[in-house]
């Protein structure tokens, strides 16, 4: 048993539709004061509601129109654009719309917005409004502003995410650099110690060599000095002999 059951046989004029919509809107979380005959005519012209029946030359509405009107008001209150509402209203069966109306408004609006986001972007790109020729209803402007605000906040969230990711990357890069520097320092230390060891070994080897060759050098020097003395003696002897022979 749904609250809509007693309205399923409804068929009446715009005024009757308004009256019933206002009555039902109180339990649907819709602002009742916004539902007027003028709004119904506007929604019909915009294709948010199905084409109405006729009574003579006047428009007549039935249960489906009532459900579509409540859906449209509720989604518009949640900031869903009219194009999306129109698409949703015209492509869903009356039962589906009535079922959706029984859900919490926020949940439904978010689900519909998600579902139609892609379509909306496409349609926005296709239909650039001509502001000079088309008078725009205040309601549409407000919806548009709400929509833009939502899109901007989404973008801000995305940017925040990107910033966080970049910060994370920078942190990891800094860590990697610190690690690299530390390794380099360690390697430098090792190299330095190896070089020091080699230098020490070289010094020891040089000292050892010096010690080994010092005696031999002394011997050689002594030999050279004795040889020189002998040579001097020989030269002096020869000189004396020459002197004697003269």
């Amino acid at each position: 048993m749904s609250i809509f059951d007693e309205y399923k046989g409804f068929w009446g004029t715009g005024a009757e539709l308004t009256e019933r919509a206002k009555f039902l809107s109180k339990s649907m979380g819709v602002k009742a004061e916004k539902v007027t005959e003028r709004l119904i005519r506007y929604y019909t012209a915009e294709g948010v509601l199905d084409k109405p029946d006729r009574l003579g030359r006047d428009a007549a509405y039935h249960f489906r129109h009532l459900i579509q009107l409540l859906t449209a008001r509720r989604l518009a209150d949640e900031g869903v654009p009219l194009a999306v509402i129109s698409d949703f209203n015209l492509n869903k069966s009356t039962e589906e719309l009535a079922e959706a109306l029984l859900k919490p408004p926020k949940e439904e609006a978010v689900a519909i917005s998600e579902q139609y986001r892609g379509k909306l972007m496409e349609s926005k790109e296709k239909e650039k409004p001509n502001l000079d020729s088309d008078p725009i209803a205040l309601e549409d402007v407000l919806n548009e502003i709400k929509n833009i605000r939502q899109a901007l906040s989404n973008e801000a969230v995305q940017l925040q995410k990107m910033k966080y990711e970049i910060e994370e990357m920078l942190k990891s890069i800094t860590e990697a650099q610190y690690e690299f520097n530390r390794q380099m320092e360690n390697e430098q230390k090792e190299m330095r110690s190896i070089m020091m060891m080699n230098l020490e070994r070289l010094t020891v080897m040089t000292e050892h060599n010096n010690a080994v060759f010092k005696d031999q050098l002394y011997m050689l020097e002594k030999q050279i000095s004795t040889d020189r003395e002998e040579l001097m003696m020989l030269i002096s002897k020869q000189y004396e002999q020459q002197k004697l022979s003269k």
Binding site: K8, G9, D53, R54, L55, D58, A60, H62, F63
Partner: protein, 172 residues
Amino acid sequence: MEIIFRPLPSRHQLAFSPALECDTLTVTANLMGMSPLDIISGKFNWNQLRVRHAATRANRFSKVAVLRDLKPKLILVPRTNGRQDASALMDEMLEAAEAIDSEVINFTHYGFVQDGLPRIEVESVFKKLLEIKTNSSIRVVIWDIDSRYRTEINGIYEKFFSKTIDAVGALK
């Protein structure tokens, strides 16, 4: 525009079935049980309450009611007393039919006639059908006639179209 007559055997309202070829039905807003409206809405499983509401309003305001989302589309014409010219209602009905892009109309109003054929009314209907322009969306009118009044309708038709229903070729 073409008019095809469909003679219905009288006193067999339960066996009444609308023409299958039509995209629009024009029915008298008669809320009585076993009326063509009652039988048709039961046959197509329409929302009876909605149809009844529409019929009530059509009668109350003496205006033609159109239920465009039904299949076939439904035009409800308010009840008449049968003693007056129905030109205004015919105008309204034809305008409504064109507004919903009807091409083949099943005109069920004279399928079950009680208390004699409303001659003035039928004459005014024929007169209006003669006025339908060639650029109208209406291509065919399938006219249900009570077989008891076939001769009378034949006479009226001859008066306006200079030929009899039989010459046109009524459905049998």
